[in-house]
Structure formats: structure tokens, C-alpha cells
């Protein structure tokens, strides 16, 4: 008997740990098991660090143009100088082709531009407040004349890496803000629809059906084309998030309504009502927490859709407008085949779009599995 009791106690301890753990802890334990989702979460954290202070991660001013440096190709980073670990990039010499009058760039392996970390560069304000000159990477040479273009330059000689970093801020934020709008609208309207029922339910459901049967991309295009030309980038940004979430909330609204309908009949809601809890308390303390994790998972999966939509709209020239920088705006530079054949590195922002969307999808899938209390 005693010999059997020992493992039983061990099992009980483990079980007790599970049974007293909060819901969020359980979700975290399950999420932790998805290696890919965990890795993707790290990627996203990295991307949002860039969003916080893109200036620190950029090597040059993204707006600085230099016509003499147009379409400079990617400088390959060499990690070792001889046997010593000291990263450098080859200097690039340009010569104008007398036939085509086009600059032709050639790497000059003999001229080594050392690459350093935490180097000084153009001035900026960290988080918009703290003046700083510090950059994560940059040319480490002392004379300050050498510049590095890790991802080459575009048509106007602007540094592609720095522009990409700044584009990340816009594109990653727009996805987040648009989904935040959708969640507020979806939870509010879906909640009203599901909790109160009756006429409100009827009206909201018809509205959702109407919005969902609109052809999204053409309507978005028409709406963004209708934005006044003289709006500031901030106004356009805000308007586009609103336009994107106009349709985005409907899916969530439907789901929230379904949950409310199902929960309304549950015993614990009845118990709360009998105990005299206010309606507000019942909704916020008793009903919402039961499906909050589900909402979070669904919204995580909605962010990449928003990112793709924003990128597509800007790519067509009707979303974010230059001088504001977003991934879509950057890809617009790569729109025609001639430019693409000349400067394929301009497609780089597209890879970042794919990476970000992939990471969001994997994290979203992981969260969805983790949020489901019945999963193994």
C-alpha cells in the first residue's frame, strides 16, 4: 500500500498544480509546447522593437537622397577579415556605361569598409524625445565619409535598409491598430447583438451580412481614392485603419454574438443574475473572460490579413502615400519589370511581409490551440 501511495502523491501534486493554475497560466503552458509558435513570437517581438525606434536600427536617414548613388546593389557583409572576426563590406565603385548611360556598380574587395555596432550617425530623437546619434550598425570608419548600404539603394539613392526599417513601423502598426478597431467594434456590436437580441440583433446581423457581401478590395480602393489629396500622412494612416476595420469587425462580431448566445443560457450566468450582479458586471466579469483568449487568438490571426491588405492598397498607390514609408510604398518602387530587372533587391520588403505574416499566422495558430481548453 505504502509503495503505491508515493507515485499517487506525485500525480496529485502535478494535478493540483494544473487545477489551481489560472486560465492564463494554462494557456501559456500549452502555447509553450509549440516550438514554431514560440520562435515566431520572438520574431514578432523583434519586429516590434524595430517599430519602437526605427531610427536606432537604420543606418542612414531614410529620406536622404543622393542621385549619384542610385540603384546601388546590396553590399555583401563579410564576417571575417582574414582570420579575425571583424565584419566589413567591400567598397563599391560606380562607372557610367557610355552606351546605356547607366551607372554600373562593382564591388571593390580591396577597399574594406569596417562595419561596427553602436556607431554614431545621423541625429534623431529616440522615441521622439531623447536626442541621440547612436545606431545599431553603421560604417565604423573614422572619417565618416564611408556609408554602408546593406540592402542597396533605390531610384533616388535612398538607403533601402533604412527605408525598410521605417516601413516596418508603419506596416506593423497599421495591422495592430486596424485590428484593435475591429476588436472594439466587433465585441461591442457582437455583444449587443448576442446579449440583448431582438431588434438590435436583427439590425446588426443584417448590417454584417451586407458588409460581408461587399467586394472588399474594389470598395477599399474606391474609399481610399476618395480620401482628399491634401491630407497629412497621419490623417491618411488613420483613415486607412478605419477603412480596413470597417469590414474586419464583422467576422469577430459574429463570433462574439455566437458566444454570448450560448453563454446566456449557462448556469453560472443565471447564478450571477440571481446573486444580484449588475448587467455590466455579468458581461465583464463573468462572460467576457470565458472567451477572451479565443478573441485574442482570432485577432492575432486577423493582423496578417490587415498587413497584406494595407501592403496591397499602398502597392496600387491608393493606400499610404509617399513621403510616408510602408512596405507597400516600398514595393511600389519595384512595380515595373524594367526596374525589377535592374534592381531586384527592391523586392526585399516583400520578403519581410511574408516573414511577418508567417510569424503572425504561426503565433495565432499556436494561441488558438492553446486557448482551446479541450485540446491535449
Amino acid at each position: 500500500m505504502a509503495a503505491e501511495a508515493v507515485p499517487a502523491v506525485a500525480v496529485n501534486v502535478a494535478e493540483e498544480r494544473v487545477s489551481v493554475a489560472s486560465n492564463w497560466r494554462l494557456v501559456w503552458w500549452r502555447f509553450r509546447k509549440h516550438r514554431l509558435a514560440l520562435l515566431s513570437a520572438l520574431v514578432l517581438i523583434g519586429l516590434y522593437l524595430v517599430v519602437l525606434c526605427p531610427e536606432f536600427f537604420s543606418t542612414q536617414d531614410p529620406e536622404a537622397t543622393d542621385a549619384r548613388l542610385a540603384f546601388m546593389p546590396v553590399q555583401r557583409v563579410h564576417l571575417f577579415d582574414g582570420a579575425r572576426l571583424s565584419p566589413w563590406v567591400p567598397g563599391v565603385v560606380g562607372k557610367r556605361n557610355p552606351m546605356t548611360l547607366r551607372m554600373e556598380w562593382r564591388a571593390d574587395e580591396r577597399r574594406k569598409i569596417p562595419v561596427g555596432f553602436f556607431t554614431g550617425g545621423h541625429a534623431y530623437r529616440l522615441l521622439g524625445v531623447v536626442p541621440s546619434r547612436l545606431h545599431l550598425v553603421g560604417a565604423a570608419s573614422t572619417d565618416g565619409r564611408d556609408q554602408i548600404h546593406l540592402l542597396g539603394t533605390d531610384r533616388l539613392g535612398r538607403d533601402q535598409w533604412s527605408r525598410l526599417v521605417h516601413g516596418t513601423r508603419t506596416s506593423m502598426t497599421i495591422g495592430l491598430v486596424a485590428v484593435a478597431f475591429s476588436v472594439v467594434l466587433g465585441v461591442l456590436l457582437g455583444g449587443i447583438s448576442g446579449y440583448f437580441g431582438g431588434l438590435a440583433d436583427l439590425v446588426i446581423q443584417r448590417a454584417i451580412e451586407l458588409l460581408q457581401s461587399l467586394p472588399t478590395i474594389p470598395i477599399w480602393l474606391a474609399l481610399t481614392a476618395a480620401l482628399p489629396r491634401d491630407w497629412t500622412p497621419q490623417q491618411v494612416f488613420f483613415a486607412i485603419t478605419v477603412i480596413l476595420s470597417l469590414v474586419g469587425w464583422t467576422t469577430l462580431g459574429r463570433e462574439v454574438r455566437g458566444r454570448f448566445l450560448a453563454l446566456r443560457e449557462e448556469d453560472f450566468v443565471l447564478a450571477a443574475e440571481l446573486a444580484g450582479a449588475s448587467r455590466r458586471r455579468i458581461i465583464l466579469r463573468h462572460m467576457v473572460p470565458t472567451f477572451l483568449s479565443h478573441i485574442i487568438a482570432t485577432s492575432t490571426l486577423a493582423i496578417p490579413v490587415m498587413i497584406i491588405n494595407e501592403t496591397s492598397l499602398s502597392f496600387l498607390g491608393l493606400g499610404i502615400r509617399p513621403p510616408a514609408i510602408s512596405w507597400g510604398v516600398l514595393l511600389q518602387e519595384a512595380q515595373n519589370l524594367q526596374t525589377l530587372a535592374l534592381a531586384p533587391w527592391l523586392l526585399m520588403p516583400g520578403l519581410l511581409v511574408i516573414l511577418a505574416v508567417l510569424a503572425f499566422n504561426l503565433v495565432g495558430d499556436g494561441l488558438r490551440d492553446a486557448a482551446d481548453p479541450y485540446s491535449q
Binding site: P215, P218, L221, S312, F315, L340, I354
Partner: protein, 329 residues
Amino acid sequence: MTRYVLKRLLLLPVLLFLFSVTVFAIVQAPPGDFLTTYVATLASSGSSISAEQVEALRREYGLDQPVWIQYVRWMENLAKGNLGLSLEYQRPNAELIGERLVLTVVLALFSFVFTWIVAVPAGIYSAMHPRSALDYALTVLNYVGVATPNFMLALVLMWSAFAYFGVSVTGLFSPDFVDAPWNLARVVDLLKHLWLPAVVLGVAGTARLTRVMRANLLDELHKPYVTTARAKGLPEWRLVLRYPARLALNPLVSTIGWYLPALFSGSLIVATVMNLPNIGPLLLRALVNQDMYLAGSILLIYCFLTIVGTLISDILLAWLDPRIRLEEG
């Protein structure tokens, strides 16, 4: 069944009316009208137009009337089957849209067929061989497929075709056939060009569909009736195709409702990048130039296609799954 279809058909005019109001409000919204854009274009090219002429044109197009009268006029013309005159091209809109509309629908249907032909077998294979090398490869492909915006895919394909094979894969016709009348040779030429945009347009959907098919079929394969059939000695492939695959397809059919319309509107972006002569690029141009009747007509056509796409899939689903009919009474 007939009653259900009739009910849905009766709703169609109501929806179209609501959409027409929305569409008109949107194309009407930008400040200024076509003539302001037109005058600005003229001014930038050096020529000018007198204020009286602008007023005369404005009266001619009815742009001086209140908005609701403009709307009623537009509707009157639409009811007569007249889509109005394009302000920019000075040609009837119906003529501009006509052939492009056919190409839009053909492209969407092609990519729809591609999606199903690829996704269903791929999903079945993945579910039958879970955790095999090919299953993992397909899963990776699916994730990347969903994550790639289709204009990006179009760009990469166009660039690699150009850089490695020296061919340009834009457009839907070879130069010889662009203005040729319809005949067999032109259709063949169209098919030669159509497959690539159709694939580009269909990739994301294919990836999503494969995942759904795999998940659905995996759920079915663990059910007792499958074990019974297997115990009776039915060959594995026949067993899977006979019952579980058919059951797993059912939820897929319900996704046609949003997938087909998504293809219609998605083709807009692919068409713009790959320079395809469908209604997408026409809409884009009309929107930028405030050619509002042309833009309005095209938007309304997109709405119509979307409603019809949804309707087709609902009817299909009702036909496949009797439970839905019962609910609707």
C-alpha cells in the same frame, strides 16, 4: 429547394439597390468632379479651357444637378441597360467593360478550378500520410502560400521569367492577337497566357483549402465506420475516397461562398501588376481620374458578381446538405 432559391432571388434586387446607393455615395465622395481633374490635366499639359466651356460640359453631363438627381438619372439609365458614357474615354461604358468582364470571370473560374484540382488531392494525401516528408513539405508550402501577397508572387514570377528565360509574361494575349476578333486561334492564345495569372491568383486559396481538407479528413479518419470498413478488407484508397473524403468535402463547399467573390476582387491586384485586360485596371484608372459613372458601373458589377458567387454556393450547399434547407423552412 425551389422555394429557398426563389427567396434568395427575391432578395437580390433589394441588395443591389442598397449596394447601388453605397457605391454612388463612394464615387461621389471625393471633392471636385471629373471636370476639375480634367481641367487640371489640361492646365498641366499647357492648354486651357474657358470657364464657359467648363460650365457647358458640366451641364451636359448633369454634374450641376443635386446629388440625388444624379443618382436617380444613373439608376434610370441602368434600368434601361445603359451604363452611361465614360467621361474620360468618351465611349459607352458598356463597350469598355464588355470584353474585360468576360475575361475577369474566366480568370476567376480558371483559378477556382486550379485551386480545387490541386488542393483536394493534396489535402487527401496529407491526411492519409500524416507526418510524412511530403506532408511536412506541403504544410510548409501552405504556410508560405497563405503568407505571400499575390502581387508579390506575380512580381517574383515576372522577374524570374524575365531574368532567367528572357520572356515577358504580362498580358493575356500575344501581340498578334490583342485586337484580333474572337476565333479558335485567339482562344488558344488566351489559354496559353491565362494559366500563370490563374495560378498566381489561386495560390493563397489553394494553401488554405489544402489545410482545411487535411484537417477535416483527419477528423473523419478516426471514426469507427472507417475502422469497420478497413476491417472488412476494403482497399485503403477506395475506403478513403468512398466515405470520409466526401464528408470532408462538405465544409469546403460552404467556403465557395466567400472564395469565389474573393477571387473576383483579388484579380484586381494581379491584373494591375501583370497588365491583364480585365476590369480591375480600368476601375483603378477610373477612380484616380474621377470618371465616376465608369467607376460606379464597375463597382456595381463587382457587387453583382459577389452576390451571384455567394448565391451559387448557398444553393450548392443547400443541394448537398438537406439540413440547411430545413432550417430555412
